[in-house]
Each structure stands twice: as structure tokens, then as C-alpha cells.
């Protein structure tokens, strides 16, 4: 075990130098760096905001079922098959069927190439499950149907969230999918997420609808509140324009009223509809409805054919800017709820870095002092190994651009404490061996050989714990498992190559010295 070939020594030196070099990247100023890799700081160290959003798909499900109900009615009418009592109840579509046509209907719905109940060719399961309830048939989303619905609403929501965050212009945001109904947003350097939270919390469903004066409308009416939560109006369910028709929206100062407004430009279809509505509806009130609340309901005085208009509603400049931003980036398919938030201010992050580094230095000094007092020369070797170990660990973290968190720093400190274990196992074993074996080289050799299984077993168990933590843990904890896990590999390398190399050099020079260790 003690022999090292020249080639191996060169190899070990190269690896050590390489990783030292890589690790140095983190402390050099950017223009002196050799390549563009660095350890990332986690949100808990650099400050920032972590938001976990959950999409509330209930309205999407309702909406889709509503559409399907309309489709079903038209479809069976087309085919001259009578179905009755078509209604939506508790996220299920129910309708009554005549006994003689039931079989036919079920066949149509369960046909592999059914138009009305698709997905079969692709997923080997239909979009809707059909349940036979005697006189009634019941349709509900199949698992796959629900998954598809969730995935597509997640895709849309992700896009809108990205647009909104990009519009605000924060530093390197990370926006990721989680599961099929969640979105994880990480915003480094942001210490007050209030504005982003309020922007993400709005669906931004905009519609222009007439206010009904006599509570009557062929499309039906609904009672909506104004933004102030006090006034109410009956508004037609007929949507003249929606947010989809907007090309642009900007906050602006109205020169005549000296009021902040949001001006908007409509696309061609929108401009046409808006023109028609404003020409036929002169004198009527046009409600501008956002997320179920009326922002304002101005009286139409003139035909607006240009496709440009403005929304007033007692805005401050900030709220007008936000509304314009929401309108530009589009409506979310469904409401988002913030189900987890973790925000760390930049100065707490810096304090954590300082405390972590201080603890690392103190821990390191305590351990190397102890080892030196206990083992003298071999303590020194262990300590050199420990330094190389740290450099390797930092080098690897840099190379993979790993994210360092506060628990991650704790993992490094813990690695310092536990890394000496392997060397201690070896040295203690050598001590035992040299009681019976006077030849130092043989004693050292068998010390290394005999301690090997214990060292491997011991490190593999810690590694197993780190791996489980990596897969089960979240955020900062993951950072801990990374440093702990990588630390095991660098420890084994530094013990079996660096420490052993120094030991072998020292021992071959002191072959016959009694009580070497």
C-alpha cells in the first residue's frame, strides 16, 4: 500500500493543482478568472425570494366541462340522437338517454377514434370516463384527461408568470415547473417580494361588457362589485372585448383630467368590435371588468373606431403601471395561490455568510490543533490532507457550479470534523500493528490494508444518508447533502492519495525509527 509510482504522483499532483486552480476562481476578481465558473450562492446566503405557486385548476375544469357540454349537445343533435337533461353537476356532465339509443351513445363515446372523447390513440385512455347510471350517463375527466388539462394550464401559466417577471426586470429569475400544478419561482436579490406577489396573485382576466340598466339581457346578467367593494352594478354576461384583443397597454397621464390612466391599443378584430359596440351603445355604460371586479364603467359618448382607448379608475402611477403590465403579459389560465414563500434579506444573507465562514475557520483551527497535538508529524500530514480536501471540495463545487447554502456550509464544517476519521482509523491501526511488527514499512502497510473495509463501510453509510437527503430534501437542505456527499469522495481521495503519499515518504525515510507513530 505504501508504494507510489512516479506516474501516480504526477497524476495526484495534477488533480490537486487543477482543483485548487478551479477553487481559486471564487475569490479572484472577474477579469482575472481563468474560466467562467463559480459556486452559486443559495437564496439564503445572497438574499432573495422563493415562491411556490399552485394553480387552482377548478375554474379551468369547470370551463372545459362547460365547453364539452355545449359540444355534446351540438354533436348528438347533428347525429340525430336524442339526449336530454344535459347538465353540469359537481364536475361531472350528466344527461339522460333513451334505452334504445344508450348502447349507441356509449359506443360513440368509447370509440377509439371518437371525436367527442379523444386521446385514445395517443394515451390508450379517453379524455372522459363514461359511467352508466341506468337512465343517465355521467361523464367526468379521466386521470389522463385531468393530467393533460393540468399540464396545459401549467404550461400557459408558466409562460405568463415568466412574462410578468421579465417585465419587472429582476436579476436572473428562475422559473420552474413542479409536479403538474405548481410553479417554483426563485428571485435572487429581491428582498421585498410584495409587488411580484401581488402581480402573480392576479389572474388579470379583462373584459369589456355593457352595464345593464334593466337587469335584462339575452345573455344573462350578473351582479359585480366595484374595486371599492361597496358599489355594485348589473353587468351583461356578453363579453364585447377581452384581454386577448389587446396589443399594448401603457400607463399614461391624461392631460385633460390630470389623472393617471392606462391607455391601450386593440388588434384589428378588437378594434372592429369595439367600434361597433361604441357606435350602437352611445349613452350606455361600458364596464371594464378585471378578475370579477369593475374597475370603472364610463358612459360611451362617441364611437371609437381607432382601436385605441383608455381605462381610468382612480389609479396611482404605480397601480396604473402594474395594470398595464398585467394586461400586456396576458391573463393566467387559472388563479395562482402562493403556498410557500421564503424571503431572506441581503444583509441577513451576508451575516449568514460571515457567521458560516467564521464557524468554518474556528472549526478548522480546532480540529487541526487537536490533530497536531495528538499525532505530531502524522497530525501535520492529516492537516495538510484536510486543506487539500477542502480545496478539492470547493473545486468540485465550482466545477459543477453547485449552489452553496447555509446548511451547505455546515456540511463543509462537518466534513472537516469527520474527514479526519479515515486517517485516525489508519493511524490507530498502524499503532496496533507496530506493537507486534518492528519493521515500520510492514506495520504501516498492514495498517492501511486492514483498516480499509471499516473506512469504506463507514463512508458508504454516510454517503447513503446524503443521497437520501438529496432526493428527499428541499432547497437549502439539498445544499447540505451536496457538500456532505461530495465531501466523502474528496475525503477518500485525499486520505488514500495525498495522506498516504506523505506518509510513505516519511516512513521510508524513517524505516527503523522506534515509536514512529
Amino acid at each position: 500500500m505504501l508504494y507510489f509510482s512516479k506516474l501516480r504522483i504526477i497524476f495526484i499532483s495534477l488533480i490537486t493543482i487543477f482543483f485548487t486552480f478551479v477553487a481559486s476562481n471564487n475569490v479572484l476578481s472577474p477579469d482575472k478568472r481563468f474560466f467562467d465558473k463559480k459556486i452559486n450562492l443559495g437564496l439564503d446566503l445572497q438574499g432573495g425570494s422563493y415562491l411556490l405557486l399552485e394553480i387552482d385548476n377548478t375554474p379551468v375544469v369547470e370551463q372545459r366541462l362547460q365547453n364539452t357540454t355545449t359540444l355534446l349537445r351540438a354533436y348528438f343533435k347533428d347525429k340525430n340522437i336524442r339526449i336530454g337533461n344535459l347538465k353540469l353537476d359537481n364536475q361531472k356532465i350528466k344527461f339522460s338517454v333513451a334505452e334504445d339509443s344508450k348502447k349507441n351513445i356509449i359506443e360513440i363515446l368509447n370509440d377509439e377514434n371518437s371525436e367527442i372523447n379523444p386521446y385514445y390513440p395517443r394515451f390508450k385512455t379517453h379524455q372522459f370516463d363514461v359511467v352508466d347510471l341506468g337512465n343517465f350517463l355521467e361523464l367526468s375527466f379521466s386521470n389522463q384527461g385531468l393530467v393533460e388539462l393540468k399540464t396545459s394550464s401549467q404550461d400557459q401559466a408558466l409562460e405568463i408568470v415568466r412574462r410578468r417577471i421579465d417585465e419587472i426586470g429582476t436579476n436572473e429569475p428562475s422559473i420552474l415547473k413542479r409536479g403538474n400544478d405548481r410553479i417554483l419561482v426563485e428571485l435572487p436579490g429581491l428582498d421585498d417580494p410584495m409587488r411580484i406577489k401581488s402581480l402573480l396573485g392576479k389572474t388579470a382576466n379583462l373584459s369589456f361588457r355593457f352595464v345593464s340598466t334593466d337587469n335584462q339581457d339575452s345573455f344573462g346578467v350578473e351582479k359585480l362589485k366595484y374595486e371599492n367593494n361597496i358599489d355594485e352594478d348589473y353587468v351583461s354576461k356578453r363579453i364585447i372585448l377581452s384581454g386577448d384583443n389587446l396589443l399594448d397597454a401603457q400607463p399614461r397621464m391624461d392631460n385633460q383630467t390630470n389623472e393617471t390612466v392606462v391607455s391601450f391599443a386593440l388588434d384589428r378584430v378588437g378594434a372592429k368590435r369595439f367600434g361597433k359596440a361604441t357606435s350602437t351603445g352611445i349613452g350606455k355604460k361600458l364596464a371594464i371588468v378585471l378578475d370579477g371586479k369593475i374597475i370603472s364603467a364610463p358612459v360611451i359618448r362617441d364611437t371609437i373606431a381607432s382601436g385605441n382607448g383608455q381605462i381610468s379608475g382612480g389609479f396611482t402611477f404605480q397601480s396604473a403601471t402594474d395594470l398595464a403590465l398585467l394586461l400586456r403579459s396576458g391573463a393566467l389560465p387559472a388563479p395562482l395561490n402562493i403556498i410557500e414563500e421564503r424571503t431572506v434579506g441581503p444583509d441577513l444573507g451576508q451575516d449568514s455568510i460571515n457567521a458560516g465562514l467564521f464557524a468554518l475557520i474556528i472549526g478548522f483551527l480546532l480540529v487541526i490543533t487537536f490533530m497536531f497535538v495528538k499525532y505530531k508529524t502524522f497530525g501535520l500530514i492529516t492537516n495538510i490532507t484536510l486543506i487539500v480536501n477542502l480545496l478539492l471540495l470547493l473545486g468540485i463545487l465550482t466545477l459543477f457550479e453547485a449552489t452553496l447554502t447555509l446548511p451547505g456550509i455546515a456540511g463543509i464544517i462537518l466534513t472537516v470534523g469527520m474527514a479526519v476519521d479515515a486517517n485516525v482509523l489508519i493511524f490507530e491501526r498502524i499503532k496496533e500493528e507496530s506493537r507486534n511488527e518492528k519493521n515500520n514499512i510492514i506495520a504501516f502497510d498492514s495498517g492501511y490494508v486492514k483498516s480499509k473495509t471499516a473506512i469504506l463501510d463507514a463512508n458508504i453509510t454516510t454517503l447513503l444518508a446524503a443521497v437520501i437527503l438529496f432526493f428527499m430534501g428541499s432547497g437549502p437542505i439539498k445544499g447540505f447533502s451536496v457538500t456532505l456527499g461530495v465531501g466523502i469522495f474528496t475525503t477518500l481521495f485525499s486520505v488514500y492519495f495525498i495522506a498516504r503519499l506523505f506518509t510513505s515518504i516519511y516512513v521510508s525515510k524513517n524505516k527503523d525509527k522506534v515509536g514512529l507513530i
Binding site: 439564503d44 399552485e54 401581488s198 396573485g201 395561490n337 402562493i338 403556498i339 414563500e341 421564503r342 424571503t343 431572506v344 434579506g345 444583509d347 441577513l348 451575516d351 449568514s352 457567521a355 458560516g356 464557524a359 474556528i362 472549526g363 480546532l366 480540529v367 487537536f370 495528538k374 447555509l406 446548511p407 455546515a410 464544517i413 462537518l414 470534523g417 469527520m418 479526519v420 476519521d421 485516525v424 482509523l425 490507530e428 486492514k450 473495509t453 471499516a454 463501510d457 463507514a458 458508504i460 453509510t461 454516510t462 454517503l463 447513503l464 444518508a465 446524503a466 437520501i468 437527503l469 428527499m472 430534501g473 428541499s474 432547497g475 437549502p476 437542505i477 447540505f480 447533502s481 456532505l484
Partner: protein, 296 residues
């Protein structure tokens, strides 16, 4: 040679008692779950204002209808930790609290950290924490089973169970908060305690091969003594590292490092007094090892 085996019985009784008491505490008193596992909102705030103290902060926040509010000093005398249930999961609550505090004390507050965990997420986190600990115990059990014989596997797992349960029991009786980092600490304890046990077991196995005439009662004692200085040195260096995290690593890592410190102490104890006594009680002998060797 220290006669560890003289106290096998006494310490077994003690450990059994510790486990029973800990389990009773866990069942009847329960754990002080932090917002990670219970849901709610946490605010770490700093204010240098001289008029502010825990009780008048509590008064102001108590009037806000936040549910159960707890206000504590956190680290130095300018920092406070506020926790409340936030049952309705109101998103603007932080802004309201800021306004209210500014109104009562003037604009003096720096919100250093805000964490808000909804009920769904907290129950998921708790579940995945329990799963992670269970998986890690199972994986260790299997690993030792592969590397050693089942008697060893059983001994190691009882030792691990002891360490986890007693550490949690201590957290229960001291009313210390259980958050995500404690789960990380418990998993690391599992790894560490295993590590310690494996080193002694490795020696027991080696000695079993070497001596056919020494009874396991005596043999475990020899093995413990032979590995004792390593056990102590590694525990000491690990504890040195942990103590430095505890004292200098900042408030956030306090719970984590404390759990680890308990765990290292229990882990060292259990690998001597539990892992080995199980081998003694199962009457492991050279035959146990040789049977396995023949199979291989």
C-alpha cells in the same frame, strides 16, 4: 483495558428506559413543530428602537387577529422572531404587519427574513421528512445485512432507532423546534451513528475470525477497546466542528448543530452499549461468521 461489558445490563436497562420515555414524550407531549411542518408565517425582524421589547411587540401583533402569535428574541438584542398561524393564508399580511408596526413604533423595522408555509406544503414536508428518515433506516438495515450477518444488521438498526428516538425525545422535553434542518440533522446522525457502529462491528467480525475460544461477551469488550481511541478522537473532532457551528454559525444553524451534538453523543454511546449488547444477546459466535463465509 476498560471493562465496558461489566455494565452491559445496566446500560441496556437505561437505554430501554430512555427509549420508552422518549416514545411516551413523542406520543403524549409531541414535538414542537416549526412552521415548516405546521404551516404558518415566520418573520425575523430587526429594530434598534429602544422602546421595543418582546412584550410590547406581542401586544401590537396580538391585536391584529393573527391567531396564535409567538414573539421571541433571536440572537442579539435587536432581533426578534415572530411566528403566527396565518390560518387564512392571507398574502398581504406581511404588508399589514409592517404598516401596523410602523404606526406603533415608527419606521424602524427591517424584515430580515419572511417565511410563509401553507398547510398543504407543510403536511407534504412533514410526510417527506418521515419518509426520508424511514428510508434511510431501511437502507442502512439492508446495507449492513449485505456487508455483515443479520444479527449485526439488527443490532445496528436498534442502535440507530435509539439515537433517532432519544434525540427527538430530548427535543420534545426541551421543547426545541423541529424544522427542516432538524430532519437533515437526524439523517446525518443516522449516517454518523452507523459509521461508528460499523467500525466496531468490523473489528468484532475480525476478532470472531481470529479467536474461536473467546465468548462474544468478552470479544465485544476487546473490540470496543481496540477501536476506542478512534471512536473518541473522531467524536471529539466532529464535536469540535459542531460546537463551532453552534457557537459561531449564527442563529439559523443553532437547532441543527444542537441536534447533531446530541446525536453524536448518543451515536457514540449506542455503538458501544447497544450495537454490541445485541450481538451478545443473540449469542453471536464464530459459527455465525463462518456460515456466512462458506456461502460466499
Amino acid at each position: 483495558m476498560i471493562k465496558f461489558n461489566r455494565f452491559y445490563n445496566q446500560f441496556n436497562i437505561l437505554s430501554s428506559l430512555l427509549i420508552i420515555v422518549s416514545l411516551a414524550l413523542l406520543i403524549f407531549k409531541g414535538l414542537n413543530f416549526g412552521i415548516d411542518f405546521k404551516g404558518g408565517t415566520l418573520i425575523e425582524l430587526r429594530s434598534s428602537h429602544s422602546k421595543i421589547n418582546v412584550s410590547n411587540l406581542r401586544d401590537v401583533l396580538g391585536q391584529m387577529n393573527l391567531g396564535d402569535v409567538s414573539v421571541k428574541k433571536f440572537g442579539n438584542n435587536k432581533d426578534y422572531l415572530v411566528k403566527f398561524e396565518n390560518k387564512n393564508n392571507e398574502e398581504n399580511i406581511i404588508e399589514e404587519i409592517k404598516l401596523n408596526l410602523d404606526k406603533s413604533f415608527g419606521n424602524n423595522f427591517d424584515f430580515r427574513r419572511v417565511e410563509n408555509v401553507g398547510p398543504k406544503v407543510s403536511s407534504e414536508l412533514l410526510r417527506s421528512g418521515i419518509i426520508a428518515i424511514s428510508i434511510s433506516l431501511a437502507v442502512m438495515l439492508i446495507y449492513i445485512w449485505i456487508r455483515f450477518e443479520w444479527q449485526f444488521s439488527l443490532g445496528a438498526i436498534i442502535a440507530l432507532f435509539h439515537d433517532v428516538v432519544v434525540t427527538l425525545g430530548l427535543f420534545s422535553i426541551l421543547n426545541l423546534e423541529i424544522n427542516l434542518s432538524i430532519i437533515a440533522a437526524v439523517l446525518t446522525i443516522v449516517g454518523y451513528s452507523m459509521n461508528d457502529t460499523v467500525v466496531i462491528y468490523d473489528r468484532v467480525r475480525e476478532n470472531l475470525r481470529k479467536y474461536s475460544d473467546i465468548k462474544i461477551f468478552e470479544l465485544t469488550n476487546i473490540s470496543i477497546n481496540e477501536t476506542l481511541s478512534r471512536t473518541l478522537i473522531t467524536s471529539i473532532t466532529t464535536l469540535l466542528a459542531l460546537l463551532s457551528i453552534f457557537f459561531f454559525g449564527g442563529e439559523i444553524l443553532k437547532g441543527f448543530s444542537l441536534a447533531m451534538i446530541f446525536g453524536v453523543v448518543f451515536g457514540t454511546y449506542s455503538s458501544i452499549y447497544i450495537a454490541n449488547t445485541v450481538l451478545v444477546r443473540l449469542n453471536v459466535s464464530q459459527e455465525t461468521i463462518l456460515k456466512e463465509d462458506e456461502k460466499v
